[in-house]
């Protein structure tokens, strides 16, 4: 047995390193909690939006994260055709990012898993795909693109959560939007990237959206995330998603 853990620590006075390596939750973590509140209308969140690629690789990286989030949503809806479409889209985006060979087997497994209705395996492959792309980009010294993949995934999951709660508001479901520290870390990471790594007006909108989300993704005095905040989160993330997809 080791030493017993203190029941309370003073986070402000502790002189210890807080590791800055932020792990952004995948949509599945939020969806797992949401499912415990009862059945959700996941099918309403399946957009089937197709990506229109251009030469802006930063946009492609952001979209990669969003498409993987779409994959998690399609799995929740158990929509085989949409999951397979996401698998193919993942391959296309990975090709544009120069990481197709790293992702190929995962994407094929997503498609095979959808055919077999092996949803647990598909969820795992989606997380593997995301992490493989991030790791590969870090190895290629494309750290900024890796960050954009993470942010895209987070935005996609947040959009789905806000949209579901906007349609069927529940305090205990909306509470999942309470992510002020995570959002602050995401903004910090985003601002640490040199502007040249993410050119174009889309990324002005990304920063603006992240900043505008800050007051909304924090519990109010009554300890809740209000319906009004949920609606605004849905609108902001929905508009950004639309801009990113180019539709």
């Amino acid at each position: 047995m080791g030493e017993s853990a203190p029941k309370k620590i003073n986070l402000n006075q502790l002189k210890v390193e807080v590791i800055q390596d932020v792990v952004i939750p995948i949509p599945q973590e939020i969806f797992a909690s949401l499912d415990k509140l009862g059945q959700q209308s996941w099918r309403s969140q399946v957009t089937g939006t197709k990506v229109k690629l251009d030469t802006n690789r930063a946009r492609t990286a952001l979209l990669f994260g969003m498409v993987v989030a779409d994959g998690f949503i399609a799995v929740q809806a158990e929509d085989r055709d949409e999951v397979k479409r996401v698998g193919r889209q993942v391959l296309e985006l990975a090709g544009a990012l120069g990481v197709k060979s790293a992702v190929n087997e995962h994407a094929l497994s997503i498609i095979e898993g959808a055919n077999a209705g092996e949803w647990r395996a598909v969820k795992h492959e989606l997380d593997s795909t995301r992490e493989t792309v991030i790791q590969t980009m870090e190895e290629m010294r494309d750290q900024d693109f890796a960050t954009l993949v993470s942010i895209g995934g987070w935005l996609g999951g947040t959009r789905a959560l806000a949209s579901l709660m906007d349609a069927n508001y529940k305090e205990e479901g909306a509470e999942l939007l309470h992510q002020p520290e995570l959002l602050a870390d995401i903004i910090r990471r985003y601002r640490e990237m040199p502007a040249k790594s993410h050119p174009g007006p889309l990324f002005d909108q990304v920063e603006e959206t992240l900043v505008n989300l800050k007051p909304l993704m924090k519990k109010g005095a009554n300890g809740n995330i209000s319906k009004n905040s949920v609606t605004k989160v849905k609108q902001l993330t929905g508009a950004l998603s639309k801009a990113a997809y180019g539709n």
């Binding site: 047995m1 590791i19 390596d21 792990v23 795992h124 997380d127 593997s128 205990e172 995570l182």
Partner: protein, 151 residues
Amino acid sequence: MVMKVKSIPARPLLLLLVFIGAGWGLAFIHEGKDAAIGAALPKLDLKKNPYVLREAWWHGELKDGEMKLIKHQLFQRNDYWFWMGASNPDATVSIHIYDDEGNLVDEESFEKGHVAGARVVPKASGAYYIRIKVTGGPVGPTGWAVIYGFR
């Protein structure tokens, strides 16, 4: 070592092995992560409602007696296990979870030499702090890894 995913496995254990292989193949072999995965296996292979292991993980180095904190977003109603492994098998380590006010919120925890684990079922969504420490030695600086699963 890189294990390729050839097909979708039908059995949970097989799925788990494929998963671990995929994780190892991502970057490099890390003895601390290897140890943490070994500690996690029983919870990942539960016949009913097994934990889902995240591919993302943290790693670094700790000196004898050194403590670090990892800040991480958790969600209400989920059930999380965090596992820590040290690269040096002679190290003894601990891991515990605190809420954003510094209160210990472990549902349960264990320490077994160079691996340790802590379980938390958050009462509220938000930032939590994972406190990791090398409690025994002296072994000198050792590599560590923290992985987590949820359900």
